[in-house]
Amino acid sequence: MSRTALGMPGLRPGSGNLFAEEKFPSAARRELGNAQLRRNLKHATSTIRTKRLNVTGELPDWEELREAGSALKTSVMARLPELLEAFEANVTARGGTVHWARDADEANRIIHGLVKAEGVDEVVKVKSMATQEIGMNEYLEEHGIAAYETDLAELIVQLDHDKPSHILVPAIHKNRTEVRDIFLKEMPGVDPGLTDEPRRLAMAARAHLRAKFLTAKVAISGANFGIADSGALSVVESEGNGRMCLTLPGTLITVMGIEKLLPSFSDLEVFLQLLPRSSTGERMNPYTSLWTGVTEGDGPQKFHVILLDNGRTNALADEMGRSALHCIRCSACINVCPVYERAGGHAYGSTYPGPIGAILSPLMTGVEAEENGSLPYASSLCGACYDACPVKINIPDILVHLRGKDVDAHRGGLPSQLDVGLKAASWALSDGRRLGAVEKLLPLGRAAAGKDKKIKKLPGIAAGWTQSRDIPAPPSQSFRDWWAKEHKES
């Protein structure tokens, strides 16, 4: 099971949860052994794929919206310094405080300081990829502050001491019965007669969190969009837990990656059409909140925003890969990925799974970091992710680019089996006579195949090929030999 195998994500100094702890193929192999996980994922991803196609198909200008979204994000990256400065000035002018954090450690220290200054030992949280990425909950817990996840799926994951496996639906790997069992075991005061009907489960979460929302002094959120020319921030959600956190506590702390900016409010007309239809497959998500600094008499009277780098400038420096920062975290690429559908999100290690994670994590950390160099290979390059992406990130091209970087990172030192094999192939294939000589060895392969004429296990790294399939026995002679014989006889 994923939980026992992986446990809680480990805290790393510096950049948080952006790392594959083991190579993708071995993590994926273990996850593939979980038949329940595969059933849950297949059910959930096929449901969402149908919904997404229905609501994107009904818009006559979907492709034009994608074009605009892509160009807007390209423009934001090119203008990032000026947009960041404008955003900072506008937030400050509207009564907010802007903080800057180079990495997860700095962000966590700032957040801890702000929470401590309010004299509380618990906070409520809106689901946020940024706080997940920096391992904020674990950091705060180590410092005696309880961070309560209020999104239903995050709550399920938190109660189960598990880790998210999807960026939109973090508990996608759990089915309703598993969720019911987690609630019965971990939720204080839960009705012991709780059924696994999703409606009943949602009501249990409502009852569980109600008092927390009404009494919390501090809330922590991420942000879907930051508006440079006004300093406004936006959170897109469904359950109303976001509205609760953004409205009721006296202090709001928002953690936002520096790439999340849009030039102006009117640009939301593009992204608020692209995002909900691509993520939950709805025409619009139930609730979208926007706020700018502090509004007297309405909502939190103390507002802090933390602008987070944590590897984003590494990704930005990669001319080929920087468009990965255009990602609006909709998860459409994840939901259409055949590799994700089978391996699940935990196999990627990082907070960001699936096709976007396979490029974003190594771009942010460098391909040399831990096992992140194995992530760009977690793809058949089928291109479904590129087709689905609302901002047209060319994920397959970036995957190939990062595979190149991974190969370059391993040059020098002792040649690997692959290096030796490719050298040998290059030698043999560059000269007909050499190839002819090598082909004389074909009968050896035939002998190895045995009576059923199938080779079931190749040696060395070639074993990867035969791990899940056989290869047919080679012919008894090569075409070259056959040709020579035929022409001699005639």
Binding site: K51, R102, R206, R243, G297
Partner: protein, 217 residues
């Protein structure tokens, strides 16, 4: 060097190739093409799809419609700027609490003990069934339309646009904005949508039919 300067310097270094700033192709729809009646019909269809209640009435019928929807409510809150004519029928003043203006702000606990809320709205997008509140006096601060479990929201048909770009052009992006598309919902369990989580579990929308055509947005 401060953290801020450090990050800005890293961003500038990362962009040392000086990538071009592209023109934004805005070939997507800027204006809708439906008439007022069609916009209302689309909105009703979307609201029903979200499992929200939708009633289209003449202005004169608004008070009676609100009265009917509040029949089961022991108490309700209204923003100070709401049209008093809409509640002129009320004979039990103890059911009503006011929020904002000279009445001040109700506490979270008071709001939690309140069954319903009645607000107006700023602008509504028919195509996605999205009602937008901007905190004007007839809509109140954000907490009042969040904590009570039943939200009755009045939409004037002249404030219904077909698509989002038309609606955003009518709004001030620096105000606290709440976009509401149906009652609270979640798809977190097996991606199956369930209505009713932390926000109001019941949303009833009263659409005021208006004669004549709409002013251009």
């Amino acid at each position: 060097m401060s953290t801020r300067e450090h990050i800005l310097a890293a961003v500038r270094t990362a962009l040392k190739d000086a990538p071009a700033v592209p023109d934004i192709p805005r070939a997507y729809r800027q204006e809708g093409d439906l008439n007022a009646q069609e916009r209302t019909d689309v909105l009703v269809d979307r609201l029903e799809d979200y499992k929200a209640g939708a009633t289209v009435v003449d202005e004169a019928e608004v008070p009676a419609t609100i009265k009917g929807l509040l029949a089961g409510a022991g108490s309700y809150v209204i923003p100070a700027g709401l049209d008093p004519a809409w509640l002129a029928w009320e004979t039990e003043p103890s059911r009503v609490t006011y929020d904002g203006g000279r009445h001040g702000a109700r506490s979270v606990t008071e709001l939690d003990a309140t069954d319903a809320v009645v607000t107006s709205s700023a602008v509504t997008v028919a195509e996605s069934g999205t009602i937008i509140l901007d905190g004007s006096p007839d809509q109140g601060r954000r907490a009042i339309s969040l904590i009570p479990d039943h939200h009755i929201c009045v939409v004037r048909s002249r404030d219904i646009t077909q698509i989002l770009p038309e609606a955003l052009r009518r709004l001030d992006g620096t105000r606290p904005l709440t976009m509401i598309s149906g009652p609270s919902a979640t798809s977190d369990i097996e991606l199956e949508r369930v209505e009713g989580v932390h926000g109001p579990r019941r949303l009833d929308v009263i659409i005021i039919r208006q004669s004549g055509n709409l002013p251009a947005s």
